[in-house]
């Protein structure tokens, strides 16, 4: 439609200047086209590059350690004797922290989004939204020390036997960290639900809470799920916070009071150590990295599937 109007406008110009502009305009639009295409290509090329480099280096690892052993082994000790390459303790550590974070961030994040979109007067929303954005902008290293120096000692008052490095405080603080992500994407989805649907429910005698829980949230469900998936991918991939606060002890456990190690924290630990490049030990980084990549990929695919399955259209 717009384009149509523009063409009509062009046609109305006197022929002279238009003919003169023609060549340059054509070149300019070509140039812009290729420039934009190049930018789009950059991110695709980066993704491909990462996958290829992960795959090729991981292949070096899997020539010496079977995939089966890697995926099912329950002891992770690549630089100890005897060596052992079962990745499950790292996966367990990652999932443990992620589940704790999700248990915090989902209810609080959704409740925040409901408050902002259904309850808060404009004045209050104008204060809370920027605060959440500040929370989202704090460097993760700060969260790490927050967990280590504030939350862990507090938790030790409740669980005296707990180590200072533990999955619980890392998970709780990670939950706080991803709340803004859950709440802001969920809130956008809720605000997009048409006013007419809310009015329809109010007109049937629904209370504010009933409108929120039975109309707004279901109608915004696909956006809310997208928020969860993004936040969880972020939690799985988060590195600094868990490296600082969760410990460096790969352990096959689901006890949140223990010191554990996540996949990301292991990668940091090994890359900072003195393991020679190209060795089997060093290549574990890429095997673990590849698995991490696949986990987030599966999560995203799952997210897309759930979104399509549950979407309420309006």
């Amino acid at each position: 439609m717009k384009r149509h109007l523009a063409e009509a406008g062009d046609a109305a110009l006197p022929p002279g200047p238009r003919a003169m502009r023609g060549g340059w305009q054509h070149l300019e639009s070509k140039l812009v086209h290729w420039l934009l295409f190049g930018c789009a290509l950059l991110s695709i090329a980066t993704t491909l590059g990462i996958v290829v480099s992960l795959l090729s280096q991981a292949l070096g690892f899997f020539r010496e350690v079977s995939i089966w052993e890697f995926l099912t082994g329950t002891r992770w000790a690549p630089i100890l004797v005897p060596q052992s390459f079962g990745v499950l303790p790292l996966v367990a550590g990652t999932l443990l922290v992620t589940v704790i974070a999700a248990a915090v961030a989902m209810p609080v994040g959704i409740a925040t989004a409901i408050f902002l979109s259904e309850y808060a007067p404009d004045r209050v929303r104008r204060i809370i939204k920027p605060s959440l954005e500040i929370l989202a902008g704090i460097p993760t290293v700060v969260y790490g020390y927050f967990a280590l120096t504030l939350i862990s000692p507090l938790l030790q008052k409740v669980f005296p036997d707990m180590l200072i490095f533990n999955a619980l405080s890392a998970g709780l603080v990670m939950g706080l960290m991803i709340i803004p992500m859950v709440s802001s994407i969920s809130e956008d989805a809720m605000l997009a639900v048409p006013r007419s649907l809310r009015e329809g429910a109010y007109a049937l005698g629904a209370t504010r809470l009933e409108v929120a829980l039975r109309v707004t949230v279901p109608a915004a469900l696909s956006g809310i799920i997208a928020a969860f998936i993004l936040a969880l991918s972020r939690a799985i991939g988060e590195t600094m916070l868990v490296t600082i606060a969760a410990g460096a002890t790969p352990k096959m456990t689901f006890n949140p009071l223990e010191s554990i190690q996540t996949m990301t924290a292991f990668i940091v630990q090994l890359s900072l150590g003195e393991t020679p490049h190209g060795s089997l030990e060093y290549n574990t980084i890429f095997a673990v990295g590849l698995l991490l990549f696949l986990m987030t990929l599966v999560m995203n695919l799952l997210g897309h599937w759930v979104v399509r399955r549950w979407q309420e259209r309006y």
Binding site: S196, Y202, A203, L204, T207, V215
Partner: protein, 256 residues
């Protein structure tokens, strides 16, 4: 008791912030009849209608003065719960607004939130029958309501409203998004619903008001003064010999 009144509006004024949208309205709505509100765009018809179920409460800055007595009880008295009022005064909107849920869940919505104890499926069926929609949807109850046509969606919204057995149904230009056939269906429906319910309808369409209503209120605005009820009385009289010059101008098409 047909012939008696169900709602009595006394000295109603209403403001959006500083803008006064209704001016000193007093009238009574007869029970089990169709009352139409007509008038030019922007004169305050929707605003007036939304005073009957306190929908204006949802608009920040909206303020009401005066009384709306529903069966003798002032719905704006302190301590009155607006959700309670809305479960007795239902509403159908200009644009059909079914929830993005199944047909069944749409009709059951009001029953569920109001803690209905009886047989849900029976209540849904009887509401759909009364809204003249049952035969068209009885095999699609668990399909999305959004798959229905506009006219069907509007009848679904009517079924949704009558499911909780309100005493009054407010309709704000319920046919303005529909074609003539769907419009006639809704008009027939309104006539038959008037046996059990009191209906107040806002319409732009004077023929529609003449066809469906027993009583008509004509509203207008002057310069920047909106929300004036000029004339109120039996529809046949108001259309045949309007008492006020402004009413006459409007219904003969010389204004608006």
């Amino acid at each position: 008791m047909p012939g008696s009144s169900i709602i009595e509006v006394k000295g109603l004024n209403m403001w959006y912030g500083n803008f006064q949208a209704l001016r000193n309205i007093s009238l009574t709505i007869p029970r089990h009849q169709v009352t139409a509100v007509i008038g030019p765009s922007g004169c305050g018809k929707s605003t007036f209608l939304r005073c009957f179920n306190r929908m204006n409460d949802l608009i920040p800055g909206a303020r009401v003065a005066g009384q709306v007595l529903f069966d003798g009880q002032d719905i704006y008295a302190p301590g009155v719960d607006p959700t309670e009022i809305r479960s007795r005064v239902g509403m159908v909107f200009q644009k059909p607004n079914p929830f993005p849920k199944s047909i069944f869940d749409n009709v059951a919505f009001g029953l569920r939130i109001n803690g209905y104890q009886g047989n849900l499926a029976e209540a849904v069926e009887s509401s759909l029958r009364r809204a003249a929609l049952w035969d068209e949807v009885k095999d699609l109850l668990h399909k999305s309501a959004l798959a229905l046509s506009g006219g069907q969606q509007q009848r679904l919204c009517i079924a949704r409203a009558i499911a909780i057995e309100p005493a009054v149904i407010l309709m704000d230009e319920p046919c303005s998004a529909l074609d003539p056939v769907a419009t006639l269906k809704i008009e027939d429906l309104m006539r038959s619903l008037a046996e059990d319910y009191t209906i107040i309808i806002v319409t732009h369409n004077m023929q529609q008001a003449a066809r469906v209503s027993d009583t008509t209120a004509f509203m207008t605005m002057e310069e920047d003064r909106a929300g004036i009820v000029v004339e109120y009385g039996p529809t046949s009289e108001l259309f045949a010999n309007p008492k006020d010059k402004r009413t006459e101008d409007y219904i003969t098409g010389r204004f608006g």
